[in-house]
């Protein structure tokens, strides 16, 4: 008899648990009926099309080796005012070629209308964990931001964001793809 009382209590608590659980399921299913919203990332700045990547620079990229040659100018000013900066694997310090590119980018920012806001996007290649790469991408964006301020770009006109490995510039699982994805892009924001 005692056992039955215990069993009854267990039964009642189970019933409470399941009632709650089913309420959840109901509501989640209700949500299913809602039409999916159109894919829009509202707060993301109007992003220029991917700047043409200079194949020559890419070929030269090897982990832990600096490439002194400066990449060619962007193919079209209409596509992007800014050139992309590339990094070595798991690194956020600026290579010589990156500094050269940033000098040009800084000049472009300084020539732009007063108050033009620029966001530095940090990106990573697909290797490594998604979470660690988010932090690494931010570190890359930060080192670009810091360098631009030494080139007289006003700090208040610069912001940063990291996309980690979530927005690769190119797909592929080889060094050619990875080297194009380890990058920082500069975009004008409103």
């Amino acid at each position: 008899m005692k056992n039955r009382m215990v069993a009854l209590l267990v039964g009642i608590s189970m019933a409470a648990l399941f009632t709650g659980g089913c309420a959840n399921t109901e509501a989640v299913k209700k949500e299913e009926a809602i039409a999916p919203t159109v894919a829009v990332e509202k707060a993301e700045p109007a992003k220029p099309a991917q700047p043409a990547v200079q194949p020559k620079a890419v070929e030269q990229v090897k982990p832990a080796v600096s490439t002194p040659a400066a990449p060619a100018a962007p193919t079209s000013a209409a596509v992007s005012k800014f050139e992309t900066i590339y990094f070595d694997f798991d690194k956020s310090d600026l290579r010589t070629d990156a500094r050269d590119v940033l000098s040009k980018n800084a000049a472009a920012i300084l020539k732009a209308a007063a108050g033009t806001k620029v966001q530095v996007e940090g990106h990573c290649d697909e290797r490594g964990s998604a979470e660690y790469n988010l932090a690494l991408g931010e570190r890359r964006a930060k080192s670009v931001q810091k360098y631009l301020t030494t080139l007289n770009v006003k700090a208040e006109n610069l912001s940063i964001i990291s996309y980690g490995k979530e927005k690769p510039a190119v797909s592929g699982s080889d060094e050619a793809a990875w080297s194009k994805n380890r990058r920082a892009e500069l975009v004008v924001v409103k």
Binding site: E26, V28, L134, R139
Partner: protein, 425 residues
């Protein structure tokens, strides 16, 4: 509308609970694994629906096989099964080599479902446990999982986790969105539909809410939403990263990585997002906090020694010590619910694998070796670890027993799955 659901315990013969822990030794001499027959339930009204009946016995057999505690076989209804529930031909089952038998019957009338299960010990010819469930047709799998929880409880002394769920990230729509599915991969449901990048879901300890990082308003912010409605609250939208949120075991706090003060550091915030308390002070990247089950310690990832490694600190940030010393890239720590192990993923040879390690750094054990395996998460009973895998055998969410055996793909859809996390009971 809440589903009316009553669970009635039937007249259970007085099997003493304390005897159940020793059950396996008593009935299966030697190290032979117990064999369990799961008979498809009998329909008590009208003609049987073999599909329904088969689904029930398949669910229970699947759960029991995954547990590793018994070898279970789903058996279609035969003449010896069509008898009344309590009427068991124990001799036939015994000569067929079974130690345990699950019998059941169901009725499905105007959408109302009644299922009754009984578990028998074939050798001692005794009923071990029994349950009846009342609900609707859509509860069929859930009731079957629930009785599997009961069976595991009767055999091992701890109930199963077969009614729990796994949240994960999938890019099947072209964007990374958060989904929830049953632990066995059935009933996947989308949670977010914002078209932005959504990452790292984590269940509240009561399983009713989820936190995750989303770029839906531009910045990677931490959001909270209930599973029962679509409203999402920005819990932390501080400047920079608001990522890898992890709910404290008592549900009062969330540990996460914020970069508002320069670089990624571990903080705790209250459940409402207020009162950030900084726990790490280091120029390196500190992220992916994981609470010990008693809430007193936090494991996390840091590259303060060059490459990402796992460290443990007290929950107030004190007494930081390095946990992983092998391998040069160790991430994704998750503390087991019993506190005895920390699962993590290690990168080596170009890919990730799941490992477990004791909190004192001993017993570092490789769990997976096939393909690329990341983001381990424990089941509430510590019996299983789920993780995401990319491998030739199929990408998806996999489940493995904590000892590395029984690796099984549970997600059903195509495409890559990311960052699975297992709900509490």
């Amino acid at each position: 509308m809440k589903t009316l659901l009553l669970i009635l315990l039937l007249a259970v013969p007085s099997v003493v609970l304390s005897a159940q822990n020793g059950y396996i030794e008593v009935t299966a001499p030697g190290n032979r694994q117990l064999k369990m027959a799961v008979a498809s339930p009998r329909s008590t009204d009208g003609p049987a629906n073999p599909e329904t009946a088969r689904q029930v016995s398949d669910v229970i057999a699947y759960d029991m096989n995954m547990s590793g505690v018994v070898i279970a076989e789903s058996r279609l209804q035969t003449t010896i099964l069509s008898s009344a529930l309590g009427d068991v031909d124990f001799m036939s089952w015994q000569s067929a080599g079974f130690d345990l038998l699950v019998k059941g019957e169901y009725s499905l009338k105007e959408g109302r479902l009644t299922v009754e299960f009984r578990l028998f010990d074939v050798l001692s010819r005794k009923q071990i446990t029994a349950k009846r469930y009342l609900g609707t047709a859509k509860d069929l799998r859930r009731f079957s999982h629930s009785f599997a929880d009961e069976i595991l409880g009767a055999i091992t002394g701890e109930k199963g986790v077969f009614t729990t769920r796994i949240a994960y990230v999938s890019a099947q729509t072209g964007n990374k969105e958060i989904y929830v599915m049953d632990w066995d991969g059935y009933n996947p449901l989308p949670l977010t539909k914002n078209g932005a990048i959504n990452l790292n879901p984590d269940f509240s300890p009561d399983g009713r809410e989820i936190i995750f990082t989303s770029y839906k308003r531009g910045n990677p912010d931490l959001y909270l939403r209930s599973l029962s409605n679509t409203a999402e609250v920005a819990l932390s939208n501080r400047k920079g990263l608001n990522m890898t949120g992890s709910w404290s075991p008592d549900g009062s706090k969330i540990a996460l990585a914020l970069s508002k003060d320069g670089d990624a550091e571990i903080y705790t915030i209250n459940k409402d997002g207020s009162h950030p308390v900084r726990l790490t002070v280091n120029p390196a990247l500190d992220l992916y906090p994981a609470w010990s089950p008693d809430g007193k310690r936090i494991a996390f990832v840091s590259d303060r020694l060059g490459k990402p490694q796992i460290f443990i600190m007290n929950a107030d940030g004190g007494e930081v010590r390095r946990l992983t010393t092998s391998g040069n890239y160790n991430v994704n720590p998750r503390w087991s619910p019993k506190g005895d192990k920390i699962a993590y993923s290690r990168m080596g040879g170009g890919g990730f694998n799941i490992f477990t390690i004791a909190p004192d750094g001993s017993a570092d054990t490789q769990i997976t070796s096939d393909g690329n395996n990341e983001n381990p998460s424990w089941s509430a009973d510590g019996r299983f670890i789920c993780f995401s895998s990319k491998r030739s055998g199929g990408d998806g969410v996999y489940v493995v027993r904590a000892d590395g055996t029984g690796q099984t793909k549970v997600s059903k859809g195509a495409g890559v799955y990311f960052q699975p996390v297992w709900s509490a009971r």
